[in-house]
Amino acid sequence: MDSEEEYMSPISTDDDEIMQDDSGDELSGPDDFDEDDFDEPDPDFGLSAKDMDKKKTAAHAVSFKVLEPSDIRRQQDDMMNDVNLILDLTKEDAAIMLRYFRWNKERLLEDYMDRPEKVLEAAGLNSSSSSQPKLQAVPGFVCDICCEDEEGLQTFAMKCGHRYCVNCYRQYLTQKIQDEGESARIQCPSDGCGRILDSRSLDLLVTPELTDRYNELLNRTYVEDKDTFKWCPAPDCPNAIECGVKKKDLDKIVPTVECLCGNRFCFGCANPDHQPAPCDLVKRWLKKCADDSETANWISAHTKECPKCSSTIEKNGGCNHMTCRKCKYEFCWMCMGLWSEHGTSWYNCNRYEEKSGAEARDAQTRSRTSLERYLHYYNRYANHEQSAKLDKDIAQKTEKKMVQLQTTSGMSWIEVQYLNSASQALQTCRQTLKWTYAFAFYLAKTNLTEIFEDNQKDLEMAVENLSEMFEKPINELSDPKLKVDIMDKTSYCNKRRIILLEDTAENLAKAKWTFNADLMNGSTLLLNKH
């Protein structure tokens, strides 16, 4: 493990120079990220220099670090110790201060040196004294919360002196911790008192099971307070990821990370791996696919409403003389006018030529074209999603195949790992391919899109080939020639995927993609249009 000291140096919240891309330099675009970062006190890139040499050169990759619960605790402890040593505060007080400063140690030290009393008060630590917290029975005491006044009532007060009976204190804390999920910023129960409960007082007041929950919540705030940390979104995974990519750079980079649990996800939006599409496109795409806007599109392209009872009607042939099944209203499909007023122009509605009719027709055509375009991309997107699921089923069978192969062909465990690699390559490549279609949906046609589509086609062909080989029955799989083929194809797939991702990532970083303005309408989106 690296020196914690260097590693933990907090990142000032307003450093904005990071990730600035120098797009004047054609070839070293991706490297610019790292060069800029070297001047920053950013821990990730310090790490990347040592551990991630390989990834550093890739435009589509970001450096990151997985933190297990013990790492998270250790980091907090180390920081508390530092502050404890430098500022001569107790560890509890140091913890409260750090939480107040959202774990920005530098800012804490600086502000504290300037105006210690003010900072202490702001963090809820005013009127400091070093006495241990304890329960007390105070003669003549009346609890201000429950109004109990019996003799010998156990009471508690923090250094602020607001004293309440221990039952009320316990109930208050239970509600804050259990119901409201509060931890780092629970204040004294007194109206208007900002003093924050320290963990030593808490130890005294609450039952062990609540202390566990409290500590868990505290641990959580450490990760949630820092912009560079995020929980792994996999169910029940206790790990966090540290990554230096800033929110405002998400239009230039797709920060994909992989947790120790194997979950690959986007650090920017916590969705599953969606390279090469940037977060904002993903959000739009998922929304588009999720809400029934496309169903509505279909309905508007194929149906009309009865002018009288508003039933939705699909015309599947026949003439323009419509009779609503429901209310028996007779009208013209073209002009939606009452049929009886149509005069002599039966079956040839001349009101069709009117402006309103023409506009309606245009709207219908537009709707239909846009629908077809969407469906083109959606079907391919959904197909890869579906295939990835099927490949996953196959992958589960692969495990068995690998065992079988070992027994039937006498191959060793290491010799059958190629099936595992193939299966993983299929999964990852399909995930990428899936998102290339969402990406392409929003892409406006330029010279670059041709290269992109070529890359997409190459990867798709490679993946389909591999998928086919992969499904072969067990007796064919043991054929050494097929084994070599699968291994070649696997590495070819991976290579094609990297090529595609590099191309998209580099152009994204340089803001060279042009996105379809129509589809991005009403957006606050930061994607650059050139």
Partner: protein
């Protein structure tokens, strides 16, 4: 559970109510529902209206804040202009509420809200805009609703809990 506290608070508030308030308990009901009538001070927009306020104390009061609803309609940025009469009041939010906060302070806060609306924290966006940008019109409409709804004794709903 906290009957002692509630009884004590009710005794205090009903004997020496904050200025402009009349507090009573509905007949045949627990101490958890209070009927409150507020008349804002003269020379303020909502004078001489008399506003009915239903204050409900949750079972875990004072660890949870009381629930406050206007039963009299009023044209105010921070009160829903409907039959629900929900109020937006900082002191009543879970994150601000402290178990040592007294109902008397809640009542003070309500009175202050009628004297001085908080358009930056609105429940009725439209009324807040009007309050900010066209005070005269707002004042006129608020007065009109006072005349329409708030001159009679407030009618409290029959409590079901």
């Amino acid at each position: 559970m906290s009957t002692k506290r509630i009884t004590k608070e009710f005794a205090e508030v009903s004997q020496t109510p904050p200025e402009g308030f009349i507090v009573s308990l509905p007949p045949n009901d627990s101490v958890h529902t209070w009927h409150i009538t507020l008349q804002p001070p003269p020379a303020t927009t909502f004078y001489p209206g008399r506003f009915g306020i239903l204050l409900t104390l949750p079972t875990d009061y004072p660890f949870k804040p009381p629930v406050v609803k206007f039963v009299t309609r009023l044209y105010h940025p921070n009160v829903t202009n409907d039959s629900l009469g929900n109020v937006c009041l900082g002191i009543l939010k879970a994150e601000n509420w402290k178990p040592s906060t007294k109902i008397a302070s809640v009542l003070e806060a309500i009175r202050n809200l009628l004297i001085e609306p908080q358009p930056d924290d609105p429940l009725e966006e439209r009324i807040a805009d009007e309050y900010r940008n066209d005070r005269a019109t707002w004042e006129q409409k608020a007065k009109a609703q006072v005349t329409k709804y708030a001159l009679e004794d407030p009618v409290f709903p029959a409590t079901a809990n």
